[in-house]
């Protein structure tokens, strides 16, 4: 069986001051994913190797990591693609603090998702009213953004998030925008302050790499740019409303 050299960044907070690379030689065939290889290493070579995973089918978003410096889902990336180079380097997901080996602290990402309220707000319908109907056009507006699996690969790729860790980031903004576009939702005004604010959409300089690395083709870059248009309109509306209020007084 063919083998591939895998250089994995190891970090044990109890011992190490910074991550160090450890090499492993892993047997593989055409179907061996990075996640399979990590499982092999944990079972046979380094039982203390730490990484996150769950579904093995690119739906849970747990196994994000840097493969040769590019954010990837380990379950959706195959060793065969690195056969030419003869080696692959794995590191913990970029731009996040490393807890141990390939595990990062996603607290900021999760807090941003929570703060942007990704759920239907202000819909007064009850189950007795029946299903909330939507036309195909209404669904098409936001459908693409519902594919996000919260894997945070877009955060690992985004240089603006790397430079400013307070930035709400591509994933959570896409999710907020998805609910802003939903005809069943009335919570846009609750989300706009954060989207307009110093941690919001204006941190983005349209690098666009978030959409390139997204494993579900969500296109967060498009969501953020469309959100910028919304933000500008929201600002214009607030100026006009402020002017009207002054006139009334």
């Amino acid at each position: 069986m063919k083998t591939l050299k895998m250089a994995i960044a190891r970090y044990n907070p109890e011992v190490d001051d910074k991550p160090r690379f450890e090499d492993f030689h892993v047997p593989y065939d055409n179907q061996t994913s990075l996640l399979d290889a990590l499982a092999y290493i944990k079972d046979a070579l380094a039982p203390d190797l730490t990484y996150r995973s769950s579904c093995r089918m690119a739906i849970c978003g747990s196994c994000g990591m840097m493969a040769d410096g590019i954010p990837k889902l380990a379950c959706k990336t195959f060793l065969r693609d690195y056969a030419g180079a003869g080696k692959v380097t794995l590191e913990a997901l970029g731009n996040f603090p490393i807890e141990r080996d390939l595990v990062v602290d996603l607290t900021h990402f999760l807090e941003c998702i929570e703060a942007l309220k990704p759920y239907l707000i202000g819909n007064t319908r009850t189950p007795a009213d029946g299903a909330n109907r939507q036309t195909p056009e209404q669904i098409a507006k936001f459908h693409q953004f519902t594919h996000c699996i919260n894997c945070a690969l877009c955060y690992a790729a985004c240089p603006q998030f790397g430079l400013n860790p307070a930035f709400a980031g591509p994933g959570s903004i896409s999710l907020a925008y998805r609910y802003n576009l939903d005809s069943r939702d009335n919570g846009k005004q609750e989300r706009m302050p954060m989207l307009n604010g110093p941690e919001g959409v204006w941190n983005c300089t349209f690098v666009g790499v978030c959409s390139e690395v997204c494993p579900k083709n969500v296109d967060p870059a498009a969501a953020i740019q469309q959100c910028k248009v919304e933000s500008a309109l929201d600002f214009a509306r607030s100026v006009i409303n402020c002017q009207k209020e002054k006139e009334v007084r």
Partner: protein, 125 residues
């Protein structure tokens, strides 16, 4: 028991953009602003020369004919074309168009640019 957590934060160096081809192209795209500034200043200089009279404008035209200025302007043109290409690719994303419509919008934008260029060249030459 005290926590054993010691999260390691990786520093982002100023050469971060050299790591991936995508970042390098992004920086090139942003760098196209520099030749645009040059050409803006050149245009203001030209307008000012035009206002000051024929002799002054002749001096400006002579300045334009300088090989170094010509070379910088060729670079500025290439940069403007690169910026236009990236903008026409990105613009349809901003206005939420489907993939098919986005392609048509891109063709239309290039068509308008081509037409405007031909009209301007026709008027200028």
């Amino acid at each position: 028991m005290a926590t054993k957590r010691k999260p390691y934060i990786r520093e982002m160096n100023s050469d971060w953009w050299r790591k991936l081809p995508y970042y390098r192209f992004y920086m090139l795209r942003e760098l196209t602003a520099v030749p645009a500034i040059w050409f803006s200043i050149l245009l203001i200089y030209g307008l000012s020369a035009l206002k000051q009279g024929e002799a002054s404008f002749a001096c400006f035209v002579q300045f334009l004919a300088n090989p170094i200025v010509l070379l910088i302007n060729v670079v500025a043109l290439m940069a403007a074309l690169l910026q236009t290409t990236t903008w026409f690719t990105l613009a349809p994303k901003v206005v939420r168009l489907s993939e098919c419509c986005a392609y048509r919008a891109k063709i239309a934008l290039w068509g308008i640019t081509g037409l405007a260029t031909i009209i301007l060249l026709f008027l200028a030459l």
